[in-house]
Symmetry: C2
Subunit: 198 residues, 2 copies
């Protein structure tokens, strides 16, 4: 089931470095792209950093709307990640499948704080509002954003018996986060372990 988590724990959804899907909407336009280059930037208020290339349609929609969602996809969605990462939503404008959601039959649900749709089947969602920093956006394609809401699939992310919010993928290999290396070569996240400070 979907669960809302405390916003101060949102960084834990990205801390381990998953490849993500960025969804956007502005007016009746919407898009989804893949992005491996993302990271947390602060705990509370939670902020993230992400690279959004100038050539992308997503960039246009982010600059118009000032917001986007980070959807954390899972092993079962690897084909979707490669499909949306290998095509441009701009090329679909005016076609019968007017966007990638239609073209690839990707069901979505509404975000709570932003216009961007959230992609069903992912394991975590972070709703983000851009912190305007024009110089680094222009020079490095680097966007900073505040996370204003965070949800998870609580089959794989929830509080443990000690009250800690953590990932727990055991028994759910198809829901493991995926981590792109290059050219369609990925690794799924693997074994969990705890390392105490001796």
């Amino acid at each position: 089931m979907l669960s809302v988590i405390p916003i101060s724990k949102a960084y834990r959804l990205l801390n381990h470095g998953p490849t993500v899907l960025v969804t956007t909407a502005h007016g009746n336009q919407r898009n989804v792209m893949a992005a491996a280059w993302n990271m947390p930037l602060d705990f509370d208020p939670p902020r993230i950093a992400i690279v959004i290339d100038k050539k992308t349609y997503t960039r246009e929609l982010i600059e118009a709307s000032g917001s986007f969602a980070i959807n954390v996809p899972c092993r079962a969605q690897a084909e979707i990640v490669v499909k949306v990462g290998s095509s441009s939503g701009r090329e679909l404008l005016g076609k019968p499948e007017s966007d990638k959601f239609a073209a690839f039959q990707l069901p979505t649900f509404a975000a709570s704080n932003i216009a961007a749709p959230l992609l069903e089947g992912c394991v975590a969602w972070l709703e983000c509002k851009v912190i305007p920093e024009p110089h680094i956006q222009d020079t490095y394609d680097l966007f900073l954003a505040e996370v204003v809401a965070a949800q998870v699939d609580d089959r794989v992310f929830s509080q443990n018996k000690d009250g800690q919010y953590l990932w727990h993928f055991e028994g759910h290999d198809e829901l493991r986060t995926i981590h792109h290396v290059a050219g369609g070569a990925f690794m799924a996240i693997g074994e969990a372990f705890t390392q105490a400070n001796p």
Copy 2:
């Protein structure tokens, strides 16, 4: 064995989101800290982004030297990662163990282009020179850097039969990269897979 890789492939060492160790040196001072918040920023010239908190001794040495190394640690080094991530090099100044390398008995070797020592036993090393961006350094603790040299442990990162530079951890579980979630809870990187665009 250690191998130098083409600088244009350096992003592949961080693309899957490992937690890293940052080493620094200035004059006869040196330090090492853990950093989960890092990502590639560009392919060629390769650039990276990393968060370095104002309170850290590493920050002081990076600002003084203008350079640092990213060392990618492995499963066998998890205890080292937690130790260096839970202590400050500043507290060791003037003590018999003058830095964390001495205190934790961490062997190092020389970098090729910068003063920072490289930590033995890691699986990849990126030598980085800071791209000065004072506003985001001051406001967000966010540093951008150009990667000027990259080395790997070629037991787990090398060219495959198709000439692609990729990670290959099969048979080397102790060398898998580690991905911190929070409070000493980690995940090792797991199963590799290729997803073609159908």
